[in-house]
């Protein structure tokens, strides 16, 4: 071998590494044995550990994937040969031998499902051929009761069904029921959050409808063509705002809505409202909550510029910032008192800026607390509102 020193060095390194690993693992095992405590303590630990592991799998409700993993833990917990979990319509999971019983399990469990009481079946009931079933001689089937309904059963199979196994199986079934109820609670919490988002969905303000119609009315005699144009814009704006489907829209659609809105506002304010835009085309297709920008622009017009003397300027910009799209709305109007704004956003008082609070609450609800509105303002200094939403939202359909 031409480069034997190199090989020797490599071999020594590998052997040293192997020895180190063995020593480390050995030390760890030794230490863990020393610290485990008495037999009783250890038994308690194993039981609770198996239960908490099974619980994690059941927290998504009774479904095949979760039940399959949980049944493994529950079988060791009960110390039986085989364990099955069903819901009301079919077997979800079977752990252990005796799978040939699987097709008949629902038949056996029918009484338990309707009666809600634990039942014991002996070998004759199970019609087992001794050759196939191995050691299984009896079955205990206990109902899973969530609230007043029976949502499934736990079936434990063992050579014989003593009182201990019956009691333990019933307890396990009750424990599974508690986990299922927790899962249902989780599901209803999600539903509640969705309902809340829907309830928060912004409404266009009645003031705006009234003012717009008045502004249009004033053009009917002096400039009928413009009046007609404005009515069409108004119709389009309301069609967008009143649409029923979907809680999300794209930035492009929302901007188009803002365009119509500003057109109508300018019919009223004339050249007092000036708007400039700086939109990065990359973020136009970003999904945002429906009517989440228009209230911010309306806030800028209503509370920033209306009270101000002379012309006011609104800048709307949207930027691509890594994984997020950043939308800012800036006006040079009268601004707000930050302290007051803070208590309004926290929901302590009903102020004029209900639109802002609504948008803020929805953004937090949908994207988490990191994505609320960031508002920079002071009296007389104008207002800068920043909104940051993730570009990638596979769960939300615009």
């Amino acid at each position: 071998m031409p480069d034997s020193p190199l090989y020797a060095a490599a071999a020594v390194a590998v052997i040293a590494l192997a020895i180190a690993v063995v020593v480390l693992v050995g030390l760890k095992v030794l230490r863990s044995f020393r610290e485990l405590g008495t037999d009783a303590e250890r038994a308690t630990y194993t039981t609770l550990h198996a239960a908490s592991k099974a619980g994690r799998h059941l927290r998504t409700g009774l479904n095949p994937a979760g039940a399959a993993k949980a049944s493994r833990q529950l079988r060791t917990l009960l110390g039986c040969d085989a364990l099955a979990i069903t819901d009301v319509s079919g077997v979800l999971a079977w752990d252990g031998p005796g799978e040939e019983l699987r097709p008949r399990l629902m038949e056996l469990a029918a009484d338990v499902l309707s009666g809600g009481r634990t039942q014991v079946f002996n070998a004759a009931d199970l019609q087992l051929s001794a050759r196939k079933s191995g050691s299984i001689g009896a079955a205990v089937i206990a109902p899973i009761r969530a609230g007043s309904r029976v949502v499934g059963v736990v079936a434990a199979f063992a050579p014989s069904a003593g009182a201990g196994l019956v009691r333990a199986t019933t307890e396990v079934a009750d424990w599974v029921a508690a986990q299922v109820e927790l899962a249902e609670l989780d599901a209803s919490r999600t539903l509640l959050m969705e309902a809340e988002v829907r309830a928060l969905r912004a409404q266009i303000s009645p003031h705006f409808i009234y003012n717009s119609l008045n502004a249009i009315a004033s053009f009917i005699n002096t400039d009928p063509a413009r009046a007609r144009e404005l009515v069409v814009e108004f119709a389009d704006f309301t069609r967008y705002s009143f649409r029923r489907h979907g809680d999300f829209t794209t930035l492009a659609e929302e901007l188009r809505c803002i365009d119509r809105y500003l057109l109508l506002e300018r019919a009223r304010f004339g050249e007092r409202v000036q708007v400039s835009l700086r939109i990065a085309p990359e973020v136009l297709s970003t999904v945002i909550p429906f009517l989440s920008l228009q209230p911010l622009v309306e806030n800028a017009v209503r509370h920033g510029l209306e009270a101000k003397e002379g012309p006011g300027h609104i800048t709307i910009s949207a930027n691509d910032s890594g994984a997020f799209a950043e939308v800012t709305i800036e006006d040079d109007g009268v601004g707000m008192d930050p302290v007051q704004l803070q208590s309004m956003l926290a929901g302590h008082m009903d102020g004029e800026h209900v639109g802002l609070r609504n948008v803020d609450a929805r953004l937090r609800q949908v994207y988490g607390d990191d994505h609320g509105l960031v508002i920079e303002t002071a009296p007389g200094e104008g207002t800068l509102i920043t909104m940051r939403v993730p570009k990638s939202q596979p769960g939300h359909n615009a």
Binding site: A65, Y240, V275, A280, P281, S285, D320, S321, H396
Partner: protein, 488 residues
């Protein structure tokens, strides 16, 4: 050419890139242009931007170098690079755009409802990105060495520093217009010298040193296995390139996305005419470059050799500037998309995390570039495509078109493809170009089918793990978008 001209060209491009990155192209509009604003990115612009980001050092220098070395066999590279877009158009672009996911890890997580798959995909994306940056840095090193005589590490370091500065300072987001500009710069930098050279050659009787058909190196021509393997790598590899996919989101709707892809095909076809012409002219007038291991530099050296005086110097400067633009644009596009993935998966998605991730994603390939030798540029990029085709491509294709894919299958397939293809790459590096058997040098023909097979078989075996959201996700991927409600 004189070093001063080269340095001037490189400095000018670097400064211009940095300045554009810092200040951006900020265009303010008034409300009158609102409709225009929401439709700004015309398919032409977007297609140019895709071209700008896609055409890398391999295309700019490597293709010409390969044509010089191996003649028509090398034409498979431009064919594969371009035809990959056809695959993208047919199989991936529209469903991925509908999915609402911006990155490939986002897509796999949403499709398979599994965080573990997301982690593995992110890892694959990061590895692909790093491997893809390395040839860009090699190209920069080669350019610096050839044109200025400075040590090669200066080139790679310069590219990394410029990219880091602009990305960390918050500029050089992959701005559509900047990238579109890069495409036209690269095209001009190749087309103008070629046209001048052809005019000069046509005008006087410049003696050629060899016939175009003569092989300057005497290397054996590639067999059908190599060509098929290469085509598999390039066709399937294009599907998984992270920085290219994101561009399709800039299209306002599906129709313009399809038009964009069509234009991209045209733009790429036009572009590849010129490296091919460079390679051919190189065969006739500078076959010596193939012997000195400078084949990849043929694009940089040829104008100076064929045209004397200041005109030659200027043309050389133009080529060098175009090459550097290629390194900078491709590297920065990759660094930005890598930093996005790393910061989101490891650092929690903050702005600081993004900057840190950008530094990491630029520094690691720099280290790799220092440790490895610059092989033929087109060849090493071909290997990166093979890696992408063996890892990301199967999970994308099966994820979009097969209901039966499971998280376990996806992970098993990606790991298999990654290990096989990565192993082949490492073995190829260890054994050296001469000692590598042909099936290790071009592994895609067996690693891609292996990855697909493992993914399909494991998914079949674990069919209980098909996510429950499958019908919802598939519906979203494959039903056409709802027409815009407010469209008039």
């Amino acid at each position: 050419m004189s070093p001063a001209v080269g340095i001037a060209a490189i400095t000018a491009v670097s400064v211009a890139t940095a300045v554009i990155g810092f200040y951006g192209l900020r265009i303010s509009r008034t409300t009158g242009d609102f409709y225009v604003a929401s439709r700004t990115v015309r398919p032409w612009w977007n297609a140019s931007a895709i071209g700008g980001e896609y055409l890398s050092a391999a295309s700019f220098l490597g293709v010409a170098g390969l044509i010089l070395l191996s003649g028509t066999d090398a034409l498979w590279y431009p064919v594969g690079y371009t035809a990959g877009y056809l695959m993208l158009l047919l199989f991936v672009a529209a469903p991925l755009r509908r999915s609402g996911a911006y990155t490939i890890p986002d897509f796999t997580e949403a499709r398979l409802d599994s965080l573990a798959v997301r982690r593995v995909t992110s890892l694959a994306v990061v590895i692909v990105g790093w491997l893809y940056i390395v040839p860009q840095l090699h190209g920069a090193a080669l350019t610096i060495r050839t044109t200025t005589g400075l040590p090669p590490w200066v080139g790679s370091t310069a590219v990394v520093v410029v990219v880091c500065l602009t990305v960390v300072a918050g500029g050089m987001r992959s701005i559509t217009f900047v990238q579109a500009f890069q495409y036209w710069l690269k095209l001009t930098a190749l087309a103008v010298p070629i046209i001048f050279m052809v005019l000069v050659l046509g005008g006087n009787d410049f003696p050629g040193e060899a016939a175009p058909a003569t092989n300057p190196t005497g290397l054996a021509p590639a067999g059908p296995y190599q060509n098929i393997s290469l085509l598999v790598a390039l066709l399937f590899g294009t599907l998984g390139l992270p920085h290219v996919l994101v561009r399709f989101y800039t299209n306002p709707d599906g129709h313009s996305a399809r038009r964009t892809t069509l234009i991209v095909l045209g733009l790429l076809s036009v572009f590849y005419l010129f490296p091919t012409a460079f390679g051919l002219l190189g065969r006739v007038f500078a076959p010596g470059l193939a012997h000195t291991g400078q084949a990849d530099a043929v694009v940089l050296l040829l104008p100076g050799r064929l045209i004397d005086g200041p005109a030659g110097e200027l043309l050389s400067a133009l080529v060098v500037a175009g090459a550097f633009a290629a390194f900078l644009s491709t590297t920065s596009g990759l660094v930005v998309s890598l930093a996005g993935v790393i910061s989101q998966d490891v650092l929690g998605g903050s702005v600081r995390g993004f900057r840190l991730a950008a530094l990491v994603s630029a520094m690691v390939p720099l280290g790799l570039a220092f440790m490895t030798d610059s092989l033929a540029l087109a060849g090493s990029v071909g290997l990166v495509f093979a890696f992408t085709a063996s890892t990301i491509c199967p999970v994308l294709l099966l994820g979009i078109w097969w209901r039966g894919l499971t998280d376990a299958g996806a992970i098993a397939g990606m790991v298999t493809g990654g290990v096989l293809c990565g192993g082949a790459m490492v073995a190829g590096t260890v054994l050296g170009a001469a000692g590598t058997p042909f099936w290790l040098a071009q592994p895609a023909a067996w690693t891609v089918p292996a990855a697909f097979a493992v993914m399909i078989l494991t998914s079949r075996a674990t069919s209980a793990r098909v996510p429950r959201t499958i019908t919802k996700v598939m519906t979203r991927l494959h039903t056409p978008e709802r027409p815009l409600a407010t469209e008039r």
